[in-house]
Symmetry: C2
Subunit: 229 residues, 2 copies
DNA sequence: AAACGTAAGACGTCTGACGTTTGATGTCCA
DNA sequence: TGGACATCAAACGTCAGACGTCTTACGTTT
């Protein structure tokens, strides 16, 4: 048999994994200020340069946020966020929406098959809050409820990878479109589309669910185009 | 008016941008060995630690690959690859396939509307090569042609973001499934599905194109499940 | 010609020092 | 008492030098 050469991963990569593990495990929730460099050096037994390389790498991916003179904070749990936001800068909103449409529809299709009753009830509750906020004119609450609904559908797809990708893509998009939504001419947010999507999920109809989800995004895209014109 | 504080981005972030710019501009194509640390230090006018932080960050995202004792090479042009491969480690092949299915179908739908004749002809040529390789029993060439076809559809969607995301997701998946494909029991690779997809593109039928693309991925998923059983 | 040994080049890590920024603390004066 | 100011400690940013380890290429030897 052939002997495998002893491959030792770089120490800084080891440190990266350790830190990411602490974030993923929930030991350091989002918003936490992680221990200062001297403390981490002691805990991990590495020199400052090695530690800083690891922190810098995680900060670049968006997992950490380093505030000079203050400390280093956990900024997200997904490593995609950094890359996505940089990608978003280069591409237009329209491209992002087209991708989101694909993910949204797929999540709906899968959710129609896999979502359990509890998840569906939770989605219904989201739509309740969403409609109530709309009637009350509470824009902020409406946006939050809308987001919860869409993210909930992604979760209900039973595909964590899809859900994470969806959050990473749709999140920045949502904040980028805040301007469009507050445009006076914007009246819609037609809640009917979301209701029909939920109905399709309840009936376990993947095709119809996918169609409804796609239609919702298409509406959003149209609003965006209108607001931009 | 309130004066914005002078926010100077960290030098290492500046270095990150400079290096990424050189890669994005094509000055350093994939596979290039970038100048050694001492040379880059001179070019950029920074200390070694600062430079190393930048390189490590880009290596973590998958843009660079550092080979100890040898040098640092350009590994990709997309910053997503690193995050995707790490994500893939945690999630199963099935999840990846479901996401790919969404992107594939959306790319096909968009391509049906936007692809020009030249792009369609190029896709047809890919299928020619693909079929020829299959008949000749040249597995490697078949895989390459198949990949060119799918990537070509993604490009033809006219959405660079979608195309890049597709490549980043499907690339690792493809190599991960190489084992499945070489399984003796695997006979299919039914070329008909791809032909009908191309036909749908030619007829500018987005719905049909999306359906065909989805069916192709579904077949792949089935093969995977079978090979794994 | 093939196998071996050697040396140069490149990245990996450590140590130490100093600069800059931030946030908190304490002080002074109105 | 309360606010404005000065001060200080903590934390990150950057630089410099040194040494270790690994990879590759080259030259030597057999």
């Amino acid at each position: 048999m052939t002997l495998e050469p002893v491959r030792r991963p770089a120490l800084s990569d080891e440190v990266i994994d350790r830190i990411r593990a602490r974030i993923a495990s929930g030991e350091w929730p989002v918003g936490t200020r992680i221990p200062p460099e001297p403390e981490l050096m002691r805990q991990l037994g590495v020199a400052r340069g090695t530690l800083r390389e690891a922190v810098r790498a995680l900060a670049h991916t968006g997992l950490l946020e380093v505030r000079r003179g203050d400390g280093t904070y956990v900024h997200a749990t997904s490593e995609l966020s950094g890359a996505v936001s940089r990608l978003y800068g280069g591409s237009g909103l329209g491209q992002l929406l087209e991708v989101r449409e694909a993910l949204d529809a797929q999540a709906a299709r899968l959710a129609a098959v896999r979502a359990d009753d509890a998840a569906l009830d939770a989605l219904a509750a989201c739509l309740e809050r969403r409609a109530a906020a709309w009637r009350a004119g509470d824009f902020e609450a409406w946006v939050a409820a809308d987001w919860d609904f869409h993210a909930g559908v992604a979760d209900a797809s039973g595909n964590p990878l899809l859900a994470e990708l969806y959050r990473d893509l749709a999140g920045p998009l949502r904040s980028a479109m805040a301007g469009t939504w507050s445009t006076p001419g914007f009246q819609g947010a037609d809640p009917v589309g979301h209701e029909t999507l939920l109905a399709a999920l309840r009936e376990r109809d993947p095709a119809e669910a996918g169609r409804q989800a796609g239609a919702n995004v298409a509406d959003t895209r149209e609003w965006d185009a209108r607001g931009r014109a």
